[in-house]
Subunit: 259 residues, 2 copies
């Protein structure tokens, strides 16, 4: 019918929908179904969702998603690797998804199916994400100037009695510094963490907390303890890993606006 489409049905009989689902599961297709149904879940926890109109998605790897009108998260789900069974019982279309470990069950009971479609998606693209975690520290390690001009990194993730600070280093004036880095806004916890490392040190050390931003209360405590905050320019740092194109296009498109 459609390119890449296995098929689509409007208002199928429940039997038809059941057959459609079973053949789609066997054929490793992605199923999207809009209908009126209820959902039960039993496993690590348990849940019950009465009748309502929702979207059901079943993927070829056995993962199942139930989406309501709103919310980023599915109201119920089953991760990849589950066994799907489907059929009509007592005038309702049942879809059961069983997870082996941990033992979990998801049951979808259809009263009506409004629309059901199954497709084979061709998607070989690699998902690139970054800079994240290690890559992020790699970047800072290679470019300590993004923390502070003239800084030289001495050690990274060195174990200390009180924990593991992200970096130790030497600043442009020859002072030893201990550096705690946060990828998102630093809070009171971050200051405490730095403080622990500092307290376990003998001799003169500077303490630096480096993050894209910091909460007011955290900055207050930080200052009082005589440590320094260094704003981390995430955008500039990101630009080092050749993600520029995106940013530019994004900005450009945003300026040009849509609709």
């Amino acid at each position: 019918m459609l390119c890449h489409m296995n098929g689509i049905m409007f208002y199928p009989l429940l039997e038809e929908a059941g057959d459609f689902i079973n053949s789609s599961v066997r054929g490793k297709k992605l199923i999207i179904c809009i209908g009126l149904f209820s959902v039960e879940y039993l496993g690590r926890s348990s849940s019950n969702l009465g009748l309502g109109e929702r979207v059901l998605m079943v993927k070829e790897d056995g993962s199942v998603l139930v989406h309501r009108r709103v919310g980023y998260e599915p109201v119920n789900w089953q991760p990849a690797g589950c066994i799907i069974r489907c059929g009509v019982r007592d005038g309702k279309l049942l879809l059961l998804s069983e997870r082996r470990r941990p033992k979990e069950f998801l049951k979808v009971v259809f009263d009506k199916v409004y629309l059901i479609t199954s497709t084979s998606l061709v998607d070989e693209a690699r998902f690139e994400i970054g800079p994240v975690e290690n890559e992020f520290y790699d970047l800072l390690m290679a470019h300590p100037e993004y923390i502070e001009e003239g800084l030289r990194i001495v050690s990274r993730q060195k174990s200390m009695p009180s924990g593991i600070p992200d970096f130790t280093g030497k600043d442009s004036k020859g002072n030893y510094v201990i550096i705690e880095v946060k990828r998102s806004m630093a809070g009171v916890d971050s200051v405490k963490q730095l403080d622990r490392y500092m307290k376990s040190q003998r001799g003169h050390f500077r303490g630096i907390l480096c993050a894209p931003s910091i909460t007011k209360s955290a900055l207050l405590i930080l200052k009082k303890k005589g440590y320094d905050f260094r704003r981390l320019n995430l955008k500039a740092l990101s630009s080092l890993v050749a993600f520029k194109p995106y940013e530019e296009t994004l900005d450009r498109h945003l300026e040009e606006g849509g609709s």
Copy 2:
């Protein structure tokens, strides 16, 4: 066209699809779109996903989901509350989703749209889940012997300067105790949490960390600090609440089988 369906289009021109999306967004409909597109994300992190066939879902609350062939999780997303803009630029259909705080952007660039549909879902059902969180603590409150024999709960979720411990109580020997409960395996974080509460207290207190299990390193720190670990028997605790009905119906359906 269809009951509850606002519309559906197969292989629309990109301009048509853009108009369709814009009117659906204005009309607070749920949009599902299967097409060939690429995705870029920029915000707390950044990501890039080249051309491929995927499913895009846009909900009335502004949340956006991009699903690939496999995997329970969306490859890219935007949570509720985002501003959606859409239009054709340079022969491609762009969909931009902007989040205000934190500042984050998601850009979807369509080469082709295979299928697009928008619907108004009627769904007033209440989602019931349990025993979770409160119910769980209710149970422990009513049955403190599952934490420790002879324990008497004194307070629950009492605010303290350093946070809110789950319980305070008095043990069989008359010692005051502070109790931190975890529903899943306790980690180093859990110990730290308990430690914070303990340190903010004057006078003699016992500290108890109660969880189904605990990581080795967490137990080490816990012992060193002189606190106690109490194994929580989740199964026994769960058996106190009657969620059997679900289990039975589920089992029955599973036995009867589908397909």
